[in-house]
Amino acid sequence: MSATSNTAIVGIGQTEFGKGLAASELSLACQAIALALEDAGIAPGEVDGLASFTLEPFREVEVARSVGLGDITFFSQVGYGGGAACGVVGQAALAVATGQCNVAVAWRARKRSSAASRPWAQVNSRISDNGQWSRVFGLLRPVDEIAMLTRRYMYEYGATRDHLANVAIAARKHANRNPNAMMYDKPLSREQYMDARWISEPLCLFDNCLETDGGLAVVITSVDRARDLAQRPAVVHSFAQGLPRQHQTMTNFFTADPLRGPAWATADKLWANADVGPADVKVAQLYDAFSPLIILSLEGYGFCARGEGGPFTDDGAIELGGRLPVNTAGAGMSEAYVHGFNLVLEGVRQIRGTSTAQVVGADVSLVTSGEGVPTSALVLTEDR
């Protein structure tokens, strides 16, 4: 059993999602944290732990003094962008579990307009880091890097664009039920998917996540304390991070088996720490900066064998009512792309029973962060 299993997510908060929001990232973070604390029924002055992304453009001290937090005795940051969301939540939970703090807050706030949010577009024209092995040849963006792995995956396993479309359409259908989703009122048909413009072949526009401004936060405390609070707790049953041997972030073309990404190492620890396994998971939020990451994650986290992730998505299997509903609020592709932090909140809502695409009996809820980078995952459960 994981050390975090005596902790729970007891509050969630999020700002509006949009493009070109007026508020700064700092303001969005503060708003999300205040909303999460209000949701939890915990006063800001009780917060004594913080965990956030290294990509945040401001320091923890700014948040703490703006929101009116207490004396902070634990603060940490996790790198690798989309790989970090479950990592910051899990580290906050570990800090509570080990007594380094009593009430921890984890958050992500992002603005599309911020240069710091789009590392690929703000490089020097002379490169001495690992970009000299890929970017110099015009492999510029995250989508190009994942498209390279996707093409190989399709070649090795016979996966098709129809499989990728299954992922995009499932997310969109779920977003169409979620009034907070950026794509709430925009259905997506298979024809629209197939006719969409290319971004990096074999990936088209709808294989890509959205670009979103917004902030989200969660509050974590002990399960004992959670039992006295307003919300139904989402127990942090298991948590893992994964930086596999010989991995190279995003351009993972240089290992013996590039299609076996960080999900596998993360899953090994995640399930080893858990009293449940993949067969017990009722609903999953799988990080989706790009549609093929869902297919790889289905394999990595043990829902099917290698090469079977494409066919796994057929026949509505990852839609509400299917055998494993995935990304039930629309996730990065159709709700909002905030480096996957919105997936954590949806994982919590499924345990609470308050999702707009609620899975009946969702007592075990998986959340993962970015495949393709050093990553992290959470198994959330009911208090039992």
Partner: protein, 145 residues
């Protein structure tokens, strides 16, 4: 960065300088451990097999096969957008085995990266290295073998 510029390796401060010097000399080099001869690409300061810091650069055959490829479309940095759609390939070398390089498939060393019909490219195609001069830097490109 300058909006019109291609991205190029920094030849002033770069631990992989010997690789780019090799390109200028017409060699595709990889880094090898002096002690155990394990080949590492991309290069690194220590051998992950034996922890030796004694590193050397050796020439490869420059021959391999296409392992994967993409066709990039805008939005892209301006210099690349002007060439889009263009191909980017990953080549797996024949020797040393399992060493892979990112590059571009062209018809000749100084050809543009967008001149080959991307839909004619196939995984498994044999290719060999050729060196283009871009902004005063020798870059490895790949031509059909």
């Amino acid at each position: 960065m300058s909006e019109s510029a291609f991205l190029l390796p920094d030849l002033d401060d770069n631990e992989a300088l010997a690789f780019w010097e090799g390109c200028a000399a017409g060699e595709l080099r990889v880094q090898r451990c002096v002690r155990c001869e394990w080949v590492a690409h991309p290069p690194r300061p220590m051998c992950p097999q034996c922890q030796s810091t004694a590193r050397e650069w050796i020439a490869t055959s420059g021959r391999g096969t296409i392992w994967s490829y993409v066709v990039a479309h805008p939005p892209l940095l301006a210099a690349y957008s002007a060439l889009a759609p263009y191909n980017v390939i990953v080549v797996e070398l024949d020797d040393p085995p399992a060493v892979r390089f990112v590059g571009n498939l062209v018809t000749s060393a100084d050809g543009e990266i967008n001149e080959i019909d991307p839909h004619s490219i196939a995984i498994g195609e044999p290719v060999r290295v050729a060196f283009a001069s871009i902004g005063g830097v020798a870059l490895p490109r790949w031509v059909r073998a």
